[in-house]
């Protein structure tokens, strides 16, 4: 059954229909989003300081140091966004895999970790249409379509080690890929209701543009127990400056001609912004856990020859707090509902809009439940998130966001004894 769930999740992830936000048009890499495991998402997206295998390396590369165990985590997010814009409203939804994480022990040398994070979404399917009746049999329809697809994905591989005193350190190499495919369509349709039947004449111009950036970076993390119940954590990443690490293409076509009216390609340089986060975790007892995180993206270091205006983004920061409660932790004979990890959290973050304007921001409240899979099969996280996103640059504009996130976690001891030999 676990295999079946995984297969369904993988299939649907491959057919992802992207979550969307028009605000992503005005931000350099799209709309930022948290890409953490289900356990972290349920606590408002925090857990930098928390040493726990179900948090993977998404918040802190040092968290790969989980001992002689292997751990797998994945998260897919179903987003529904209600957009209100000066009296008009629209509802859009989509889903996207946000995270894959794998930690493998390498004996006394610590652990190695691999992960993929979808950090920014630049997706949008937007159209405006008007149908005008010219006379009793003629209709003229004009449509403008804007399609964008892409975002920033980080692929990471690294090593982590935890010392005997509980201090964990981790170092990762990161490879960033930003991809954005844009298609703008202007379509005109004349439709004639003639005696011989409806006779439409459809014609359009299409502009296709792509922009791709590839960059390398390093990420360092640390988790330090400062008290029996308190741990502090830090993680920071630096992306190496790029030279001609971006490529862009643009072509302009008419629907009735095969040759492009315009077709160009060029390269450009882009430097992605550094990012860092700090956090604290307080484990009151076996039932209660509290986390608090703060993070920032240093957009002042972002450069992009292709879009210098968008590059003038304001530095972003965010905070999150969360708590987790397990009614009957470590009680073997407890009921199933008593084993569930109940979590709640809140998150506030600013958005990378142009620094000439007031800050754009978003906030979210989260509720989550970690459902243990029987027989030490791992954990399935279900997280509900309710939030709002707004940008003061656009009066009367707002986005209400509802997310349902599904996390899948699995782990096992790397060096297990063969149980059959005990008999």
């Amino acid at each position: 059954m676990k295999k079946a769930v995984f297969t369904i999740a993988s299939f649907c992830a491959a057919l992802s229909i992207n979550a969307q936000s028009p605000l992503g048009l005005s931000y350099p890499l799209g709309v930022p989003d948290i890409a953490v495991t289900g356990a972290a998402a349920a606590m408002g997206g925090g857990g930098t300081a928390l040493a726990e295998e179900y948090l993977g390396t998404s918040l802190n590369p040092a968290n790969a140091a989980i001992g002689e165990r292997s751990a797998f985590s994945a998260l897919v997010s179903f987003d529904a966004t209600g957009i209100s814009d000066n009296g008009k409203s629209s509802m859009v939804s989509g889903y996207m895999p946000k995270l894959l994480s794998l930690i493998i022990p390498i004996g006394k040398a610590g652990n190695i970790g691999f992960s993929m994070q979808q950090r920014y979404d630049a997706n949008l399917n937007f159209y405006t249409r008007e149908a005008r009746k010219i006379d009793s049999i003629t209709t003229s329809t004009s449509t403008i379509e804007l399609h964008r697809n892409g975002g920033l994905t980080a692929w990471q591989a690294g090593w982590a080690y935890r010392f005997a005193n509980g201090i964990g350190v981790g170092l990762q190499y990161e490879r960033f890929y930003f991809k954005r495919d844009t298609r703008e369509v202007f379509e005109s349709v004349f439709t004639y209701e003639l005696a011989s039947g409806a006779n439409p004449y459809r014609a359009s111009t299409t502009e296709n543009a792509t922009a791709n950036i590839a960059s390398d970076g390093v990420r360092f993390g640390m988790q330090v127990p400062v008290h029996e119940k308190v741990t502090l954590g830090f993680a920071g990443e630096y992306i190496l400056p790029g030279t001609n690490n971006g490529s862009a293409t643009r072509e302009y076509r008419r629907s009735d001609t095969s040759a492009a009216l315009s077709d160009t390609s060029y390269s450009f340089s882009a430097d992605l912004p550094p990012y860092m986060n700090i956090g604290a975790a307080y484990k009151l007892d076996d039932h209660w856990l509290f986390t608090a995180d703060a993070y920032t993206t240093l957009w002042e270091y972002y450069e992009n020859d292709l879009e210098p205006t968008l590059a003038e983004a304001d530095r972003c920061f965010g905070i999150s707090v969360g708590a987790r409660f397990i009614p009957a932790a470590n009680v073997l004979s407890s009921k199933y509902w008593e084993k569930i990890h109940y979590s709640a959290g809140a998150r506030y973050a600013t958005l990378p809009n142009n620094k000439a304007y007031d800050r754009a921001s978003e906030y979210a409240l989260t509720l989550g439940a970690g459902l243990p899979i029987p027989n030490d099969g791992g954990m399935v996280d279900i997280v509900f998130s309710f939030g709002k996103r707004s940008d003061p640059r656009y009066d009367g504009y707002g986005e209400n966001i509802v997310k349902i996130q599904l996390g899948l976690n699995g782990g096992r001891d790397w060096f297990q004894k063969d149980a059959s030999k005990n008999y």
């Binding site: 059954m1 676990k2 048009l25 005109s188 004639y192 111009t205 640059r393």
Partner: protein, 467 residues
Amino acid sequence: MRNNKPLLCLAAVICGLFLFCSRSDVITGAGSSVVSDIDPALTDLGRGFVQINLRANAVDSAFSLPKGVSPLFSTQASGSLLFGVNGDGDTVAAHIQYGVRPFEAEGASALYSKGAPSDSLIGAYIYFLANDTLSETSEAALFPSDTLPGLTPVNRADKQQSCEDGGEGGCDGATDNRVGGKSFALGSALDSIRLPDSIARRIFGVRISKDTSELAAFAFSVVDYHGAMRKAHRPYVIVHVIKSENGSEVPVRDSIPGGFARFTVFENSAMAEARSIMPYSSQLTKRTAVFRVKLIGPLSTISGGEPVSYAGLLDSLASFGLSSKNSELLNAVAAVKHIPADSEESGSAPAQDGETAVLSGLIGNYKALFLDTLLTDEIILGLDSSALAGKRLLYNEFAATSSTAPTTPYNTHSFKGALRSAMDKYSNGTATSPYIYIYLRPVAENSAILWDRPPKIETVFTPSRSQ
């Protein structure tokens, strides 16, 4: 199994979420304030689409081509022999050519090969099979003709009359050079004429020849036939031979199919002028209706007794801040409308004494062609010395368009290519007065259509984003 229930429920929830999310992935309306901030053209339909419609009076002239009567224009290749006089008084003459090759050249076994005296030629006949008009019994005649290159018109002079001396310079009776000295009627769906012995011998000789390059070419015309329009299969030539075989004589019939056939329509000269000044078109004569649409300059019309003036298409475009250079033609559709034969409007060229009115006849499929150039008689007939000489341009251009049947209240055609071309020439300075020419011609057999002015022309432009 009990432990699987939560996971089954979870799988069901996941599938439900996937289905829900896949059903609304497009934003409409809301969000335009953000999108327009990035590019106002992406939300402003008024700016992104400039629609300019022209009314029927944008057509500043309507006529037909060719201006004069020309059998050069009205000669067509045909799968049948067509001859006679149609309802509009146009006379059709037919021509068919034969090319006979040796049996050996065709890779066929020889029906007769030894030659005289073993196999003896009886004669050669041409056999007609009627396609239609079986009730018509007027007799037609076949006249020997030269083989004609290309689409050279049928030669009416193939019929040659001679006068039998009646004494004192008069004629007792006129005779002509009709083949076999007889006519054919097709009244019984089959008729035949014996070919001259000289042709029969020539065919016989070539058929049994060992020289595979030998060719016997001969042709016939059906001219000077003034009965109703007739249509016949391309006639076969049958060669009758008596073959000696094992001491007995066996009759052999060698069947030779007809080759390239054509017909030429000799337009009713009394109607040619009236037709040339009207948007009249005919499948038989290939007369083509033409409408000239003016693209610049004010156009005037009378609306309710008051003169109304409005700008041409390109002037209207300029009023939107666009020009032929900085705009992109997105869509262009013209409506075309015919005048039915029973319409009151069809009496615009009434019949004179001995004439026929210019009106629609049989109405069937037609072709519409949009060009930015006017095709003159000289160009379409290949009579001028320009680069276009030798090309029947209108023939070639029409061949690339598809046909359709008239419908109610009008038909529509896209003409983006022609309009773009006209605008390019205008913006390049090579056309100071750009026009669009609409050419209309029926393709259904024996069809004739009188066209009304195109009731409307609708275009949509968008600011060019090619830079």
